[in-house]
């Protein structure tokens, strides 16, 4: 519930949208989006009748690994800086 409240605050301040847009833009620029699409196509070609959960189980772990460390750290530290402003530890 705490996390939900924090997210709500991020959304209402407009920062959530900034973080979300920045992440998707960086992932697009570094070619991650195309890589995940290719990974998905390979899975689909390998098993034409695979369902969404089956394909996702194969693709998601690899896709998470494929995010560059710099992008991941940049986004997480941006979230942290927002949280530092709004959360009393």
């Amino acid at each position: 519930q705490l996390k939900g409240q924090i997210q709500q605050h991020l959304v209402e301040s407009g920062n959530y949208e900034l973080i979300s847009n920045k992440l998707s833009q960086k992932l697009l620029q570094e070619g991650w989006t195309d890589q995940v699409k290719r990974l998905t196509s390979v899975e689909i070609d390998n098993n034409k009748n695979a369902s969404f959960p089956e394909v996702l189980a194969k693709v998601e772990p690899k896709a998470i690994q494929l995010v560059s460390e710099s992008t991941k750290q940049e986004i997480i530290s941006q979230i942290q800086s927002y949280l530092s402003e709004i959360v009393e530890t």
């Binding site: 924090i6 979300s20 992440l23 995940v36 998905t40 689909i44 969404f52 998601e60 979230i79």
Partner: protein
Amino acid sequence: APTIESTSQSIYDNLLSTMIQDIVARSTTQAKTLRARYGDNST
């Protein structure tokens, strides 16, 4: 107890998994729709 670091990581994980699932959902559904329309060997 949740920390700023763990919560930030968790929010990041949420965002990323939503993006991955969106890509996989669109690709798998499109592939099946095209196959239903044009048969198996469409290019």
